[in-house]
Symmetry: C2
């Protein structure tokens, strides 16, 4: 027997409908790509999204078509997502920081029919355009007055193009499982993989994000998503902020400390979100100017592990609560959030920071487990680490055009991370699965050794890789880049690590290097590092 | 094209799975029907719900079967809901405060196969049992030591009955639209109507309830649902509290001021919910004892309009924030919640209370409109009142066994309430649609006049009904019950109302009565009142 409740499919247009009806005049502020700071409202964004949907419909865009966006966080980009999904098409946010070859590969693989592009990225696309045969039209996110001369095919200025129609349009009626968004993962190896969100997954994921123990934003908040919409589905903020009717501040192209500070202060931002690098820039700016953050209450930090110093400075110096989080493109992306359960909420000082350094706990709607290599579940004791696997309505089951599910027999997706989970359900990443070092049947966390090594006053950067070893299968090699003008020795470093890690975790050798290779998104490219050291032979002493 | 996200049906077992996995040891405290205060955990409730599901499965209970519960709020009642829905059956909470004939009618209409009943209600069911032929077994929610001698068919003590199996059971795999719960509305007219919730509607509704601007509960809260689970689906609390892993305190059978106070204080409750009557009892108790509420932070008040005095006392005297809410059984039940948007959050003093007297705004997932009698939408100006209609994934489309949808052409459900909506989306109930008085083509709110009339120092209770009038179609008649020992006159009352309402709203007459008829749930029975006055003739003076 089925229930007798209403059929109300979880479609994204309902989010902006809700905001426009119930929070019509709430301000959405943008630092525009053209320069000036502009202000609009949810009611206006809603009307313009309808206009875009009508324009796209007239253009022949149909349900399931992909439309690329290469754009900063602006009200225009936001309304594009709603306009595109409202006509049944798929927003495909492309990360413009990728290498041009990757961008080309991704856009061709996605078979994008149209690209909506900020002024900033017109030159980039002009260089790639002749290798993007499927794109029928480029829409430049500006008005006629700012439209550059361009060779891009059928290029039009967005404002004038959507002004050709009115907003009298009915959102397409769709099955809630219809594809809505697409985001490619920038893996460190192989070709990027396309993650395909549905309306349902985006709506459910955003509802989860709104719960008080997740992001907990309210209509009284002023939220600034510094994390770009093109980074891992924009951390849900394009949906979960309008969903509660909070005010938004969109930072556009300027993410440096001074620019971020200006918006935080002038628009009384109460909640913001970005990767640690952005916050390092802001904290540096604040220190050099002596400025404070009187309005900001909470900052969400994810994308990579948040350094202890960032948590301490925000909380102790500026009175801003840090919420550490973990997720991935394949998870829409929120996985865990480090709000404090009663077991930790009473902690103070460094014990509290220690808890906050964990990546946090899952909300309802995300399930996780850690397993060994055979798939057997490992205990939640805070010490044992294993492969982290996740399940939920906003977690990927397959990649675009790959035609097979990537889940285990219980339906879990393997994250590629290795982590512990403590008895209270707090997950802490210890490594990437492919970087963990397998020595004598046990696992060594490369990240833990790296984090310790960068604590040495003469070390600028550190990477640990596992290299083949005749007896132990693999043993760790520590590669360090010294700080400018410093000349640390192998013995300095090993001496520094002694007593801080188990004896059998001690690197078998330390190599001093001038630089360590990085991916386009700034991650250490361990695969290249392993390639560089593939013929390296350990000195016999340490581990045998 | 469909998205490529996981298939993760919204099933209720996932809620208790989540709580048991991620908040395993969180306390759930109960004032038991047997007397002592007991404490258990989500892990234990989860294991016992599995045990119940296995016992029900062995008993031959199948997907779609209805199981009645007549029970107070206890951990046992909570685990029954999860056990029943986990085997695919439907919890049917029966309000034991209804008249016995109504209970019998409802249980027969629902065709309940089994009844799970607290000790309190065994005598009640013994009297009805021979008129409940479909019930195959009565499970008394106690253990063998407390089991009464009873004539109830196949009666067993719950504890011993579920102890016959272990908890090794797999929740049934179900379509998320499968029926999960049932609750009859206690209408003031006609037979009760069965509302049939699905797993999906209950899960979505609970996710909505968890958002920071709705109930906003966190894992750090201690939540006491004083509102019974049998009242309008228990206001979602059986699901939305475990969903965030908050601690629970279940008040069992004792809802008087002293008992509620004892639990609030001894267990440091931070958030509680009930109808105004309960809070009047608590406030009276606090005043007479001089006790305070040092732990309680927020109180959710709904079920009927919250008197101003209750809001003021809680906030001004006890420092407890009041959250006024509105909903109905047909809405799962939450419709609007009066948390403050930025337009109101800056208010203080009586202006703030004025805003809080409104029933609040809708969250994402509830849509509302007000219309005139022809179905045309009315403006959100805070003045115009019209028929309130709602839409959403947790709103009824049809009643059990009635075989037809009750929605308008846009898919909205008519609530039967008449309300205004202000420009910020705050809804305020002005009347029940069937009680509104239609005079000369305009509407008069019976409730507004009643609320004013009870402000007269000599009036204990007031009811306004519309009676036929040759010229104006209908005109208001005010019926009042004087306070003990008082003898107010028609002129006293009309004089008191003068200047407080529009002239054409003034009642054409005032009748002094000894009592006003009420339904089993305490609402004024206006239909009986209209029947009593059907031959009444207005004096000609006032309105003509």
């Amino acid at each position: 027997m089925l229930g007798l409740m209403q059929d109300w499919p979880l479609l994204l247009h309902r989010v902006i409908d809700h905001a426009a009806t119930n929070h019509a005049e709430r301000p959405v502020v943008t630092r525009s790509v053209e320069g000036p700071i502009t202000t609009t409202t949810y009611a206006a964004i809603h009307a313009r999204a309808l206009r875009l949907a009508k324009r796209l419909d007239r253009e022949g865009i149909r349900v399931g078509d992909r439309i690329a966006t290469l754009a900063w966080n602006t009200a225009r980009h936001l309304e594009c997502w709603y306009g595109i999904t409202g006509v049944g098409a798929i927003y495909h946010t492309v990360n413009p920081r990728l290498f041009p070859d990757q961008i080309m590969w991704i856009m061709n693989h996605a078979e994008d029919r149209m690209a909506m592009v900020d002024l900033t990225f017109v030159p980039l696309l002009e260089k790639l355009a002749d290798k993007l045969p499927k794109i029928e039209r480029y829409v430049v996110l500006t008005d006629n007055a700012h439209m550059p001369a361009t060779t891009l095919k059928n290029a039009v200025p967005y404002e004038d193009w959507i002004a050709e129609v009115d907003s009298d349009f009915a959102w397409k009626s769709l099955d809630e499982n219809t594809a809505a968004g697409m985001c490619y993962t920038s893996g460190t190896t192989g070709n990027p993989k396309g993650v395909l969100y549905s309306h349902r997954s985006n709506v459910l994921h955003s509802m989860i994000a709104c719960s008080a123990d997740m992001l907990g934003q309210t209509s009284r908040d002023v939220v600034m998503p510094v994390v770009p919409l093109f980074h891992a589905n924009g951390w849900s903020l394009a949906f979960s902020v309008p969903m509660v009717g909070a005010s938004m501040v969109m930072p556009g192209p300027k993410l440096d400390g001074a620019s971020v500070y200006e918006l935080l202060t002038d628009y009384k931002v109460t909640f913001t979100a970005a990767v640690p690098t952005v916050w390092l820039g802001l904290l540096q700016y604040l220190e050099s100017t002596g400025n404070k953050l009187p309005h900001l209450k909470r900052v969400l930090i994810g994308g990579s592990a948040c350094p202890r110093m960032v948590i301490e400075k925000f909380q102790d110096v500026y009175g801003v609560e840090v919420i550490h989080a973990w997720g991935m493109t394949e998870m829409s992306p929120l996985g865990t959030v480090c709000t404090l359960k009663p077991e930790y909420s009473g902690l103070t000082g460094s014990a509290r920071v220690e808890a906050q350094l964990k990546q946090g706990h899952v909300p309802f709607g995300v399930e996780m487990k850690i397993t060994d290599d055979t798939g057997s579940k490992l205990p939640w004791d805070g010490k044992t680490f294993g492969r982290l696997k996740v399940r939920g309505p906003a977690v990927t089951r397959a990649y675009f055009k790959e035609g097979f599910d990537v889940l285990d027999e219980e339906g879990y997706f393997e994250t590629g991370d290795v982590s512990t989970i403590d008895p209270h359900g707090y997950m802490q990443i210890t490594d990437r699965a492919k970087d963990v070092i397998k020595s004598g049947g046990e696992w060594i966390s490369s990240i833990e050794i790296e984090n310790l090594a960068v604590g040495h006053p003469k070390v600028a950067e550190a990477a640990v890789i596992g290299l083949k070893h005749p007896k132990w299968d693999e043993r760790p090699l520590l590669v360090i880049v010294p700080k400018k003008g410093e000349n640390p020795t192998r013995e300095d470093i090993l001496g520094f690590l002694e007593g801080k890690i188990a004896k059998w975790w001690m690197p078998d050798d330390v190599v001093i290097a001038e630089e360590i290779p990085h991916t386009a998104t700034g991650k250490i490219q361990k695969i290249a590092l392993r390639e560089r050291f593939k013929d390296y032979v350990f000195p016999m002493a340490v581990a045998s």
